[in-house]
């Protein structure tokens, strides 16, 4: 059961991403052309509800399944890494039409060629790890 719940969340996530069309290359293209509200609605409503619930969790000191108070680990401070890394990511996102979650989901929908993108993404992460100390953060 411990690990099964993660499998179930993953299955649910995969279904939602397909049914929302957020895994569609076309929807990402349309988003970056500002020609539809669809993707902004998905991300915007997810974030607004997220802000509300995470705030409520903090206010009421909600505990997680392990009995610890819920708190999110803040990201390290910095600027260059977020802007530069984010920009590189954005270039890839708009070209592949998919970010890491959808890469996996799309493979599941039967797009075998997505394995090439996933392998290249693993390689990209590897190259970052090797060059990390030489990059501005």
């Amino acid at each position: 059961m411990k690990i099964l719940k993660f499998l179930l969340v993953g299955i649910f996530f995969g279904i939602v991403l397909v049914k929302s069309e957020a895994v569609s290359w076309y929807r990402i293209y349309e988003m970056f052309k500002f020609q539809s509200f669809h993707m902004y609605g998905i991300i915007g409503s997810a974030v607004c509800l997220g802000i509300l619930f995470i705030w409520l969790f903090k206010v009421f000191g909600v505990k997680n399944i392990e009995g610890n108070r819920i708190s999110l680990v803040p990201k390290d401070s910095g600027f260059v890494r977020y802007l530069a890394g984010g920009t590189v990511f954005g270039l890839g996102w708009a070209l592949a039409g998919a970010c890491p979650g959808p890469l996996y989901v799309l493979f599941g929908t039967g797009v075998i060629s997505m394995l090439i993108v996933i392998a290249a993404a693993v390689f990209g992460t590897f190259v970052y790890g090797v060059l990390k100390s030489k990059l501005p953060h």
């Binding site: 990402i28 910095g78 970052y128």
Partner: protein
């Protein structure tokens, strides 16, 4: 049941994505898909080349299970939960895409012009997939997160770094969509 088979509107999908994030947080974890790319590097022995990959990847097995689920979920969604509806794109998008040489916009999730084997197995087609994947993998780790970790979780937690990262996502995405895609694909 029939309404499940149709595409789900944004106001259903967005809150369900929040639910995924909240469930993972409630389980004592966090919502971040790109971390799995780093975990895969570690499993593959990348620790030999960089400290960055020397961590206890077994502690992140749960996230690989989420990935396995996401793959299964993708399969279930297209196999049992789809009625073959086309994607209701803006007609302007469809016409813009036809100028770039994409002629079946919205008829499937992905353009065959990029993902069908006939195009993948050309030098240009293969280069597109490899470069796209590389940029995603490199950029997401450099930025410390992707759409799930920064845009959804980070913004929900009102973190400045995530806002900067999301602005970066859009700078890159806009450059690619408006300037580079026309150079790559114009017929």
């Amino acid at each position: 049941m029939e309404v499940l088979l149709k595409p789900w509107p944004w106001y259903v999908s967005g809150p369900l994505i929040t639910l995924v994030m909240l469930l993972l947080i409630y389980f004592g974890k966090t919502f971040g898909m790109s971390t799995t790319l780093r975990t895969l590097c570690s499993i593959g022995g990348a620790g030999k080349y960089s400290d960055f990959f020397r961590f206890d990847w077994k502690a992140y097995r749960w996230n690989l299970v989420v990935v396995l689920g996401a793959i299964i979920g993708g399969y279930i969604a297209v196999t049992f939960l789809s009625d073959g509806s086309t994607i209701a794109l803006n007609p302007q998008t469809v016409s813009d895409l036809s100028e770039l040489g994409f002629y079946s916009a919205g008829k499937s999730l992905l353009p065959s012009e990029i993902y069908a084997w006939g195009n993948v197995l050309t030098v240009k087609g293969m280069a597109i997939l490899i470069i796209a994947g590389f940029l995603v993998g490199f950029g997401t780790r450099y930025a410390g997160g992707c759409t799930s970790g920064h845009a959804i979780t980070g913004l929900s937690n009102l973190q400045w770094p995530s806002l900067i990262a999301v602005i970066g996502f859009f700078i890159g995405g806009l450059i690619m969509t408006h300037f580079l895609l026309p150079l790559i694909f114009s017929p």
